[in-house]
Amino acid sequence: MLVPQINSTNLSSAVGLGLIGFNENDIAVDYGCILFDSFVYTSRLCKKVVGIIPSSERLNTLQKRLVEEDVKNCDLVNANYNEQHFNEVFDCVIINSFLEQLIIEIKHDKTIFFDSKIRDKKRYNSPEKIRIGFFETIYKGLRPGGTLYLSYANKLRIRTLLLFIKLAIESFFTAISLKKAPSFISLLNAIYLFSYYLLSQEGLEKLLKANGFIDIEKYAVFPDHKYPLKIIPLSKLDECSFEPVQYISREGSLRRISAGIKRRVDRLVFNKFKLFDLSPSFIITARKAS
């Protein structure tokens, strides 16, 4: 048994990893190391954790944090995911918020996250292809029976919703004129985005199955996956109860009012209509077949 430190940081933001149930002899890998608390939490409960960080700036920051926390059972690798080829090494693969970063990188060629020297040169890869390549890599790294933990924000829902609102307003105010043409194009665009969103939700699970993962479980996460306060397994919706959760904010009456409105909307959307596909974030766990 490991001996607890006298004082340790509160790692409550890593609460999603509690869904996995680590064993003391597990070896885990964290792709991206986006959430430092999760990395430290994993190091506390596993035998060893490997962090793969494409950004050297983030690597330095994480190293400092690990020194502060006296974490020694870890290896950090400054590399991109596709430069690592592990063979059935890991008991667990953790991917926190990393999929979004990959997609942003590919779509917009942003260098915020990736160092230019190790940035993926294949800029013309579609997000779907990148995902498949990514899953192939992680699948190979997992031992049979090993667990995949994936958390990501449901970013498209806000974008889609805003687009529909914009379109509704536009169609209301626009007179019969040439302005209808761009309006029609943006409507098509919105429908495309909406269908992409719905497909990508299901598509991700299909992709996991296609890559050999089994026992796939999807969870709705509130208010977000970076600090969950409520996690609901979507296969147990009948047995779970939903009550809106928010981070506590006492600053200003406007914030309190908006929080109150959000609570009511959440009750309507999730309690009454059970539209959990609109959850702010998701966690997916899956297992590599033995």
Binding site: M1, L2, P4, Q5, I6, N7, S8, T9, N10, L11, S12, A14, V15, G16, G18, L19, G21, E24, Y41, R44, L45, E217, Y227, P228, L229, K230, I231, I232, P233, S235, K236, E239, C240
Partner: protein, 240 residues
Amino acid sequence: MLCELITNNTHNNNTALYKCYNSNKVFYRKAAFSHWGNKVIDNENKGYEWFYKDTGTVIETILRKKYFYELDIPEFKGKKFSSESVISGNEKIIEMIIDFYKGKWSTKDVFAIHGDLALCNFIIDKRNIKLVDWEHFHYSDKEFFGYDIINMLFIFIYHESKRTFRLSKRNRDFLRKCYIQLIEGVENSNKILEKPFQNSKAYLLKFADRFLINTNIYKKFVLSGSPLSVLEHFDSIVTK
């Protein structure tokens, strides 16, 4: 095994509560996320041990002391209550709880305080009463017998009056009835029952460290933040 996250880091307790579904079995798991969380969970387990001791019932909780502690708690069958329960409509249950408290707490060799005795922490199945959430459990002197019940009554007052502390005559009479039920047969040396609400607040503030609170005590317990005038008012109602 599938888990649902019920709460996380409530009142900065550095623990999370999961509901776990394992085949046909359902249980709750409290997990720590810091050393402080370990203390909270260890304490909670002691509370369950105290509660079950001498009852002839097998202790059904399982404590795993990994780097971060985990406590598995069985799912108790029975009626559960809201954290904002009020007096009206729950009178019979409240009387039953006071009876239960008097029986259970006065027969124990070592006196203890639950620390957060509220209706939402009871699960009641006919006459079978289970008590959960022992985070603030601690041993104390028997002279403080009654603290938990007075604290519970104050939580009821808080919700019943919608935080205004104004109660109907019916509710005031009921509070007095509860107080009489509680003090019957209590020793003269008791330090709670003379000015029950004021003395309970004094106990809470004096021994705050025993309650293992990792946040501002005024945010956690409504009794601790209530003005003296309010407590005097309710003391006079129940003791007149």
